[in-house]
């Protein structure tokens, strides 16, 4: 008797579980594959060039430096130009170091900052669950050349970010574009590090 019950239960559960999967099986299969490849990497180190297009400024701000990632949850963004600044995200704690001053911020206290950072970190970690907690995921392309579009779910997050678009090839991130609701945006271009 218990065996029959559990069999029925299993059927019901698998039917429920399968339903949304069927819709975009192909895309999601590739997404999982990309995520799997990203998750395999324990360390990553790339150079970045970032451009900020802000309406309040008459020309874009440009900065460059290096991005380092250590599994599972450490992301370091070292800006070298135009001014040295180090941003370290470890767990839920963001440490900003610039001009000899050090600030520690708790990400929970600044929900508007979270999408800027978590979009990149969770993608590097191949952590689909973490992404899905914050964003609606849209995957296009295939493993060799893909685009992941993230749209914030929470209204607090939506106030600071309207969309994050990540371009990549296999387990490499190529471009990260973050759009803000007021039309301002930033574009980060990544390439393998040549820095010492």
């Amino acid at each position: 008797m218990p065996r029959v019950l559990s069999f029925i239960l299993l059927c019901v559960l698998s039917a429920i579980g399968n339903e949304p999967l069927r819709a975009a099986t192909a895309d999601l299969h590739d997404l999982d594959q990309v995520m799997g490849m990203l998750a395999m990497r324990q360390h990553g180190r790339v150079e970045f060039i970032e451009q900020h297009f802000l309406s309040v400024l008459s020309r874009p701000l440009e900065s460059s430096g290096e991005l380092r990632y250590d599994a599972p949850d450490r992301l370091e963004k070292r800006t070298l130009k135009p001014h040295a600044e180090t941003l370290v995200l470890k767990g839920e704690e963001l440490t900003v170091e610039r001009a000899g001053r050090r600030h520690v911020m708790d990400l929970h206290a600044y929900p508007q900052v979270v999408p800027f950072i978590e979009s990149i970190r969770a993608t590097l970690a191949g952590d689909r669950k973490a992404l899905e907690r914050l964003f609606r995921l849209d995957f296009a392309g295939n493993v060799s050349r893909w685009t992941l579009t993230l749209q914030p779910l929470e209204s607090k997050v939506k106030q600071s970010v309207s969309q994050v678009r990540i371009d990549g090839a296999q387990d490499q991130l190529l471009k990260v574009e973050i759009r803000q609701p007021d039309g301002d945006r930033s574009l980060m271009t990544l390439r393998p590090s040549t820095l010492p």
């Binding site: 900020h52 309040v56 008459s58 704690e93 708790d106 929970h108 508007q112 950072i117 600071s160």
Partner: protein, 796 residues
């Protein structure tokens, strides 16, 4: 005879009435003033202010444990939100950002008066250029992006500067948006009560409010998770409330139990209710007169005096025992008179030696001890006088107690065995014991006394460790080292705090200290605000400077019109006052750092060590303050100062006790007129005291000031025993030996019962008293009896 009797009773009742009036009208205090020296140095005054009302005294550390992480953080959020609405709390914080709209508006509106970066140079073309450049650079960082919309009004980033200067203290770890311990096992919050830490009633109400808020927060959770979350509180106020409850509980329970035991013992002995009732009269009168004497002598009676005083005059129970038992030997009408001739001189002498002992507490700088001394002296004299005059007057005709001769004979029989030993071997045994005890005391001399104030703390080490753990997790909540700037008004101390902050900042840069808090960071002095306001250029000048400053920057000057308007507005605006601050949640942080008492104002700048748990080099701090020419600034190490204060009390008490012993010896020499007899009286007492002290030290106990009081009590109570034996040995007119022995055994049993029970309490001070007095008085009796009987056998 009847006229005399009536006169005695009238005098007695008159005294009782006066005492009752004094006791009823006396002021009773439970605060820390018992520990405040009568003539404090300025540093000691600051220390006691700190302990009484300082920010550290008002902290309640809140931990939510058990349950899952999610329910813990939800309970923490709900708990803190409820408490923030409660006016009992000056501030409540769990890491949730509350830089509410009001706070941000306040800071933004007054940014050019509050920011430390504001000076004339800041608004020159070059100064503006570098400030705006930095703000623009900030925009590239996600943290700076938050200030994007403020750029047209605040291009120099003053709001960010102010937030920086307010948030210099390190923050605890956070989980799920609230503070948590490093291992994440508990959610943490800190509440600061509006009332001072020494206001135990207010602390108790605040604790109740926290418990109620916690219960409400747990009730909001789904049932399953809710059942597991637990609340733990710690901090000085929590300890004070727990200690008071503990002492009250222990005192009530122990006095009931020991009361029952002693009453049972006395009933067994007397087999007479009248005798029992009469026997308690000296004690009751003594207690009443003791309190009245303290009220008269000091104006206010400390709770600590009431608590221990009763036990200290426990000796007075003995008087009535001696009276009843010994007066029995001369039956008939003349019984009381013959007792008066035979025994009263001995009891009087015993009472006077006790008074000598307790008088040594009177010159102490520790008001608590002073009061104990006066209380005991007043109580003992009153009890002795009641025994001498009132009890005989009240004795009903045909009054009789049970014959205790058999008890005395039995004990005497036991003592016979001591006679088997020769007097010399007894002396030898005593000497060997004394040498052994002294050897132990000499060996442990470094660690013999506990010189830390925590020796008196009724808080268990487990609770203290838990408190330390919470403090470590919360960062720098433990205010141990402070710089205190004093002055006659708010403006002078804020100005002093600014100067001190400048000196301290250099120490932070040199990494001598990790950081500090500063009330002037919340509200600068009027002088500083005025100088900042006057450094703001006129509109036309500022515009010219700005046009020059933005050259080469990706920002057009015409976008910054709101900035020009805001600066111009500030130039004509009023300065920020404490009242402006009062409307914001920032006022809690400010208020915690300002201490105002009568005509004295103090600004507190708590220091943080460079490494967590590290020691701060206070001489370097003092030197930096001196270099910075900060007048009226003092460095205070709260723990070291309070330990020094206690150590001072302890050292003083030890010296005065020794002086009291010398006085007592002199008294006996005058009364007994024989060095030999004095030696015979004192030897058993000294031997009992050193044996108990050595025993306690062997058991790993470090002696505190209460042990010392206990030793005084051994001498006080034991001197009666020794004097009785002495009288018996040296008087031809000796009374019934068996009855005297019985009286002593009964008196000692009641003392051992009462004090022995104290040893089982949870309160260290009571344990100290109990473990000293119970064995000590027993040993004093034993040594005196053996010595006396051996002395007799030697004579025989």
């Amino acid at each position: 005879m009847n006229v005399h009797r009536a006169r005695v009773l009238v005098v007695w009742l008159g005294c009782i009435t006066c005492a009752v009036i004094l006791v009823a009208r006396a002021h009773y205090s439970t605060d820390l003033s018992a520990f405040l020296p009568a003539h404090p140095t300025p540093t000691q005054q600051l220390l006691v202010d700190q302990l009484r009302d300082g920010p550290a005294s008002r902290l309640i550390l809140i931990a939510v444990e058990q349950g899952d992480a999610d329910s813990r953080s939800r309970v923490s959020l709900s708990l803190v939100r409820q408490l923030r609405k409660d006016p009992q709390f000056a501030s409540v914080n769990n890491g949730e950002t509350v830089a509410g709209q009001g706070d941000r508006e306040f800071l933004f509106q007054h940014r050019y008066l509050l920011s430390e970066a504001v000076n004339a140079q800041r608004f020159s073309a070059a100064g503006l250029n570098s400030a705006i450049r930095e703000t623009i650079d900030n925009l590239a960082s996600p943290a700076g992006l938050m200030f994007k919309s403020l750029l047209p009004r605040d291009p120099t980033g003053e709001l960010l500067n102010i937030i920086d200067q307010l948030a210099r203290s390190p923050q605890p770890e956070s989980r799920d948006g609230v503070w948590a311990s490093r291992d994440g096992a508990r959610a943490l919050a800190v509440a600061q009560t509006a009332a001072g830490g020494s206001d135990t009633d207010a602390q108790s109400r605040a604790i109740e409010a926290i418990r109620a808020a916690f219960a409400a927060a747990v009730a909001e959770l789904p049932q399953t998770a809710a059942n597991r979350a637990q609340l733990h509180l710690s901090g000085p106020g929590v300890f004070a409330v727990a200690a008071r409850a503990k002492i009250e509980r222990a005192a009530v329970r122990l006095s009931i139990v020991s009361g029952i035991l002693v009453v049972t013992l006395l009933l067994l002995v007397y087999r007479s209710l009248a005798a029992l009732g009469l026997g308690l009269l000296p004690v009751a009168t003594g207690a009443l007169v003791g309190i009245a004497a303290v009220a008269l002598g000091f104006g206010a009676v400390h709770g600590i005096t009431l608590g221990f005083g009763i036990t200290l005059i426990g000796e007075s129970v003995d008087y009535s025992i001696y009276f009843f038992v010994q007066s029995r030997q001369a039956r008939g009408a003349a019984d009381a008179r013959s007792w008066r001739q035979l025994w009263w001189p001995t009891i009087r002498l015993g009472m006077l030696t006790s008074v000598c002992g307790f008088a040594s507490l009177l010159p102490s700088g520790f008001p608590g001890l002073k009061q104990l001394g006066l209380y005991s002296i007043g109580g003992l004299i009153a009890a002795a006088l009641v025994t001498r005059y009132v009890l005989p007057a009240l004795l009903p005709a045909g009054f009789k107690i049970h014959d205790v001769t058999p008890l005395g004979l039995g004990v005497g029989g036991l003592l016979q065995r001591a006679q088997a030993l020769r007097g010399r071997s007894i002396l030898l045994c005593g000497a060997v014991l004394a040498i052994l005890a002294l050897a132990v005391l000499y060996h442990d001399r470094e660690s013999l006394w506990n010189r830390e104030l925590s020796a008196l703390s009724p808080i268990s080490t487990d609770e203290q460790n838990y408190d330390a753990k919470l403090r470590a997790d919360l960062g720098a909540a433990d205010v141990r080292d402070l710089v205190i700037v004093s002055g006659p008004d708010m403006e002078s101390i804020l100005h002093g705090a600014e100067l001190a902050a400048r000196a301290l900042q250099s120490l932070v840069d040199e990494k001598v200290i990790g950081g500090f808090e500063n009330p002037a960071a919340y509200l600068p002095s009027i002088a500083t605000q005025e100088s900042r306001r006057s450094s703001l250029p006129r509109a036309a000048d500022l515009r010219a400077n700005l046009n020059q400053a933005v050259e080469g920057l990706p920002l057009r000057a015409d976008r910054l019109q709101p900035f020009l308007e805001d600066v111009e507005a500030t130039r004509h605006a009023a300065l920020v006052t404490p009242r402006d601050l009062a409307g914001t949640s920032l006022s809690a942080g400010f208020d915690a750092l300002i201490l105002h008492q009568k005509d004295r104002w103090n600004a507190l700048l708590p220091l943080r060590s460079a490494q967590a748990g590290g020691k701060i080099d206070l001489s370097a701090v003092a030197a930096a303050l001196q270099r910075g020419q900060v007048d009226d600034a003092r460095v205070l190490d709260v723990k070291q100062e309070s330990d020094a204060l206690y150590d001072n009390y302890l050292g003083e008490a030890i010296h005065f006790s020794l002086a009291g012993f010398v006085a007592l010896t002199a008294l006996l020499l005058i009364a007994l007129r024989s060095p030999r007899r004095v030696a015979r009286v004192l030897a058993p007492l000294v031997l009992a005291v050193v044996t108990v002290a050595a025993g306690l030290s062997l058991a790993g106990v470090h002696l505190s000031i209460l042990h010392l009081v206990g030793m005084l009590l051994i001498v006080a109570v034991g001197s009666n025993y020794a004097l009785f034996f002495d009288r018996q040995a040296s008087s031809d007119e000796a009374g019934d030996e068996a009855l005297t022995l019985a009286a002593l055994v009964i008196a000692n049993s009641s003392t051992v019962i009462a004090f022995g029970l104290l040893s089982f309490s949870q309160v260290p001070v009571l344990v100290a008293l109990g473990t000293t007095v119970a064995p000590g008085t027993f040993l004093a009796l034993l040594f005196a009896a053996i010595g006396a009987s051996a002395g007799r056998s030697a004579h025989a």
